[in-house]
Amino acid sequence: MTTGDPSREEFLARLEDLLPTGEIARVRADVESLILDRAADERDRDPELGQEEAERRAVRALGTPEALAEELVSEPLTIGLATQRSFVRLLAAVFACHLLLSIALTVAGSRTAPIPGLLGPLPREPFAAVLLSVLTIFLIDAGAMLVLFVALGRSRGGAPLPGLFRPARWTRRGAVEGLVLIALLAVLFNVFLENIFSVKQGDLLETFLAREFLALVPWLNVALAFFAARHILTLLGRGGGSASLFADALGALAGSAWLITASTRAEIVQMPTGHKLGQEAADVLDHLLESVFLIVFVVGALLLIVRFVRSGIAWRRSLRRR
């Protein structure tokens, strides 16, 4: 590349600040190449033009760094045919292999799981347990594929991340949306959790969340507080700065630690038994709901760990720039 030009460098530095860490090097090289090509063309057309002015014109053709970054990080407008196809194809292949291996282990009469929690024989009865196991295999594969596509950058631009796990853009609108989401989650977890996750026993609603799990819930507020701090800093015009990146990294760390702690509890669900729900049905529901919670917690923890690493790297970069 040629020697730095303030206009080009300013544009690229601002663009770097706005992009996800994993995108920076590639996008910077691409955009710099575009600027230099356009500048050379400008100079071919007007030999009197200086390099600096030619580059300024080339930068102008790119619009503002904010608008370009917004375009680069927003969801695709076009159909993500390639993305959907590769995700679905891969998921179908992984699920088929996983299921075939489980059937093979069942037919072979295996009594132990070669990979506990991931690969083992299917139950032979009752039928609901067989269905439940197949569903669990599918959910595990779908979760693992999602993590693989997102965390390893194989999303090819089409797999949307849940808002909580994706570092939101450093805009005031994003900050307001983030704060509203955090407020809703705080109300859900601190006020309504036991009412929502409950079953009716006679005239009363009785929660099916285990006490051990409920005792952990207040600690989730720590993660929410860090994320709220990050959004408040953005509202104060300090979004993308080292303080907000640090708060984001701490929020992701606290969130992932909470999810890992929650997923390692002996009991997450404890279905109350009564005149309507027999012990056997309660056990099946326990198992089903525990599996769903575990998958959500593990996938959530992995995504938050990725976010922690990204924000941590961005924080270190911001400290170096200061």
Binding site: A29, D30, L34, A61, L68, E71, L72, L77, T78
Partner: protein, 123 residues
């Protein structure tokens, strides 16, 4: 509304079409600014700030493959349709044909209705 077409409408109309046209031009390898010039010559004037996100998105989706050429005076990134990209291009062209045919049919029907109304009102 009176007068010319709303520029926003035209921009939105072009935004979808320009993606198909860009893919058509990328049957052979081209670098970004070369594509900007080609599209301009084809009547689809587009700034780099609009085209680059499209190329980047297609690249991430695996629609385009890319390689850097460092032999010239400046390093240049060349984009080309991948096998997935050819499938997507064909799918987009089919979608474009369907939209074009439906639009032409709507125009024909509107013209026929207009002619019918004119002949009924004439003495």
């Amino acid at each position: 509304m009176t007068g010319g077409v709303d520029p926003k409408f035209e921009a939105e109309l072009r935004r979808g079409v320009v993606q198909v046209v860009a893919l058509l031009h990328l049957e052979s390898p081209r670098y970004g600014y070369d594509l900007v010039r080609l599209l301009g010559e084809a009547g689809f004037a587009i700034e780099e700030g609009t085209l680059y996100p499209i190329l980047r998105r297609f690249e991430k989706q695996g629609v385009l493959s890319s390689r850097w050429d460092t032999d010239g005076a400046r390093p240049r990134k060349y984009y080309e349709l991948s096998a997935d990209g050819r499938e997507l291009k064909d799918a987009m062209l089919k979608a474009w044909d369907a939209v074009r045919e439906a639009t032409e049919e709507a125009i024909r029907q509107a013209a026929a209705a207009s002619d019918g109304a004119a002949s009924e009102s004439s003495p």
